[in-house]
Symmetry: C2
């Protein structure tokens, strides 16, 4: 979208003044930093009202279209004078908040973002007031130890090592039980980085891949190339990792999945053998505990066995499904996770913490030394600086949320949340099975659900399993259109994805509607409302089928 | 530090209950997610009190030693039941907040973290309440456009292209004027990633480094290796980048600096020629606008010329010094930044925003396509999803702070803050020059200052420039000890670094005290207080010199 200069709306919250003297700027700026704040309580109240109003919304979003919305944000000039705070908040409320997504809405059940416990809001304010930088002890002091503790708590939930193990490593600056990152992507990339540097490390005269680079390392160890092996449903952070690390996406071996979205173990084993034959260095074998696509769970015990036989780093991407460790009923579904050399879990997914909390856990407390870096102005060897072994540098004290979540929700609280999500998913699956308008596309492993709407004229063929490729193409178009209309209207929200499926022994791509049932506020009535909203929207779509055209 | 099991203190905020029924867990957890919050205002008030109390502290930190502090955080068990919120906050206040660093204190002038404007606190609460995920339009809608606008505003401050340029690109999903990252490290890594993928991209039958990997790419283009060239004072994120990207730290060519900590242009030019001779692919040439070490500014115009002649990506790491663009008085010091192909600026440094805001700006709006990735469940081609071209995936709506900062402080507000920091640094430099107790180690370019304390017995030799290597070693030990004692006492804070210096034509390492003058609340009296605190602490240190030993 391109606007001509005349069309660009000016920002209305700018001060309407002719000229402001320098001393006025100084006064205004210093006022912003002052502790004796005039009107501070007023701002707090205003923002609390905006927040509560936003959180109280029952719909998924406003119905403004993206192009119209974009035109509101086309002025690229930085105002020269400080804007009036009240006016700016008014602008913010009318233009940004009004058209943001109600991720906490009980009818927004299409992505991995949902309602959060209330305490994270005041904690966010506290974290910002404290303004610690967790990269080093000199700007984080207590928070460094507090973060190590919180990570050790989750490490223990995964690996359950002895009391002595945790006593030895929890506050030992040489050990890394976990790394707090900005998200699961960074955690996955860090895991691949550690694994690559460990397997291609220093030996004899060779200084290791870190110092000498990938080409020299592969040469030294006599490999023709490198590979990462995992399911075709691996998160796209592994594409990033393979690219970044110089392996290339060609080295990212994507193994097909079965109809339940689990990696085919036999194919995985064959891929490992093929890498050996072709003399490729296997950096890691990936198991997924909750695919982003469908929540599918790989058979981790089988993958662990393959990795162990091949003596290869086993990484589990449990960004989504990791918190199943809290559920007595469902924990067995991810059995094998405790054998992983590294595990990714996101705090901002099923730990119900704010966005920006990824974690990487390590079975072996010294493996992160393979990525250690120092700098003379900080990050000194032997120090407690957490930034020594991390991809990121400066970062906020997000450990506040993690530690608080683990304590204020507790393991049984998390168990309840996990169990509830899976229970509601079964409810939704049953509803879909019972409604002729929909087709369930896979049995849900956890709390993601793939299904699609079937236009009336094709329902009989679905039941008889006689849909042709053309029919499927038509249904695809219909569902894509339906999802977009539903999103645009904003009453409810379901996302969509692509799924490969068999159609008369031929692989075809299917557009799937994708529900994520993680919001504790979502009730069975809300689920019904979302499905009914889709039926209503579908009834308003007129799209002639090819057969109707012929008729 | 290792504790035996008996020594581990239990967490005192756990509920003292025998057993809690399942329905009670449900009730407690659902209460945390409920909008009709019992005691919500009470929590807010409590946390506001804790925050205000923390921010009001005049000292740099408590005086607890690290080992004692670590023992408070050694319990690795996740409590089974939700803890009592009031008790948890009490625990947090007594154990974490009490021993966190007062980064906003006017006497904490040793790191790049300082006081923030008040409005970021309520905004943090709002951001957390909104819980947008900026990775995709379906979880961020308005915030995606708002973020693009904020980035374009800073892009314009750097590059100052035409109105038409911004009208064309500001909300064009094909263009990337900037990428919001979790920090400067990620921004620098992303810059090197883009540069590598662009220079070793697809050509003829070759699919590019992204697909085929680094070894194949270097082979195809006929290179023997790859290099990144910059000053020896480059931030350690470039060590991470060289390692991650498979180039190896050996490929990170560190060029010596002059006595003002600026890269030596002639050496840089020679390094480029050497790479050409050795048939190395130069990924990028780096200019630094504010070294982490000393705030030094590389001669960007000269480096730009070298990069242009060599036809190599020119990246400026302006994480610290970028906001000098707002100062009419000082902007010329970073002239040449507008010729950079990419520029890193940190929001959480001299834009006075909360931790977790890095930015990468691109001169050419399409270069980020070299790192573009898609995924079927999101990140669709042609979409407005910001996560398509980014190292990170899910991330919080930090654009709220950036946009608000640019508008509520304004360009003249930032100009005032930058000018003030430099003015106060000159004040401190003058004070140090006038005091026999200290030696200034370099003329400050901006608002970082390197100096050291000179023990009385050696002051005459300093004036006469007759310090031996042994004397310098002694002074080093003294200053390291001084900095640690000062940090431990917690009244004031100055950091330390290492600096190479000439001593009788021999290169030696000097321990430098490092002041960062960025806190708007720091007055000249505070600066005097910090220096006097150091003199006082130094007077309590008894450390015999070798000459005294002889005597």
């Amino acid at each position: 979208m391109t606007l001509s200069k005349q069309e660009i709306p000016t920002q209305s919250y700018l001060l309407e003044t002719e000229e402001i003297l320098h001393s006025d700027i100084e006064k205004q700026v210093m006022q912003l930093f002052s502790l004796s704040r005039i009107n501070a309580e007023n701002i707090d109240e205003l923002i609390d009202d905006i927040s509560d109003n936003f959180l109280g919304a029952d719909t998924a979003s406003s119905d403004i279209d993206l192009d119209s919305l974009a035109t509101k944000f086309c002025d690229s000039r930085v105002p020269s004078h400080p804007a009036n705070l009240d006016k700016y908040l008014e602008y913010l409320s009318d233009n940004v908040i009004a058209h943001a997504i109600h991720t906490a809405s009980p009818k927004f059940i299409g992505h991995m973002t949902s309602a959060l416990p209330y305490f994270v809001q005041p904690l966010a304010k506290l974290m910002t007031a404290m303004n610690q930088n967790s990269v080093k002890i000199e700007t984080a002091k207590s928070l460094s130890f507090y973060e190590r503790q919180a990570l050790a708590m989750l490490h223990r939930q995964i690996y359950n090592f002895s009391d002595n193990f945790y006593a030895e490593h929890i506050q030992n600056s040489q050990s890394t039980l976990g790394i707090l990152t900005s998200g699961g992507t960074t955690a996955n990339i860090t895991a691949m980085w550690c694994a690559r540097n460990a397997v291609l490390g220093a030996k004899d005269d060779f200084l290791g891949v870190e110092k000498e680079g990938l080409t020299a390392a592969l040469n030294f160890y006599g490999y023709k190339g490198a590979a990462i092996i995992g399911s075709e449903l691996m998160h796209f952070s592994f594409d990033k990792a393979a690219d970044l690390l110089g392996i290339g996406n060609r080295g990212l071996m994507k193994i097909p999945v079965d109809s339940n979205n689990r990696v085919r173990v036999r194919s995985l084993r064959q891929a490992v053998a093929k890498c050996r034959e072709q003399n490729l260095c296997i950096i890691a074998i990936i198991g997924i505990a909750g695919t982003t696509d469908s929540g599918g769970l790989d058979p981790l015990l089988d993958i662990a066995e393959i990795a162990q036989e091949a003596n290869v780093h086993f990484h589990v991407d449990a960004a989504w499904g990791g918190p199943l460790i809290f559920s007595q009923q469902h924990r067995s579904k991810i059995a094998g996770i405790e054998q992983a050399n590294s595990v990714t879990i996101d705090g901002h997914k099923q730990l119900y913490l704010p966005m920006g909390i990824g974690m990487l856990f390590m079975r072996e407390p010294y493996i992160a030394q393979s990525i250690e870096k120092q700098a003379s102005y900080t990050m000194r060897k032997g120090s407690f600086d957490l930034g020594k072994r991390a991809l990121e540098g400066s970062r906020p004290g997000m450990a506040l949320f993690l530690h608080a979540g683990l304590n204020l929700i507790g393991s049984q609280g998390y168990e309840f949340l996990i169990d509830e999500g899976i229970r509601k998913t079964q409810y939704m699956a049953n509803r879909i099975r019972s409604m002729p308008e929909f087709e369930l596309l896979a049995e849900p492993d956890t709390n993601l659900l793939l299904y699609r709407y079937i236009p009336e004229s094709l329902r009989e063929l679905v039941v008889k399993k006689q849909l042709t490729e053309t029919d499927n193409l038509f249904i695809n178009q219909f569902n894509e259109h339906l999802q977009k209309k539903q999103r645009q209207a904003g009453h409810t929200f379901i996302s969509r994805t692509m799924k490969t499926s068999n159609c008369f022994s031929q692989e075809i791509s299917i557009v799937a509607l994708r529900a994520v049932l993680a919001n504790p506020l979502t009730t069975e009535d809300d689920i019904d409302a979302v499905l009914n909203d889709q039926i209503q929207i579908a009834s308003e779509i007129y799209m002639p089928t090819s057969s109707e055209n012929v008729a």
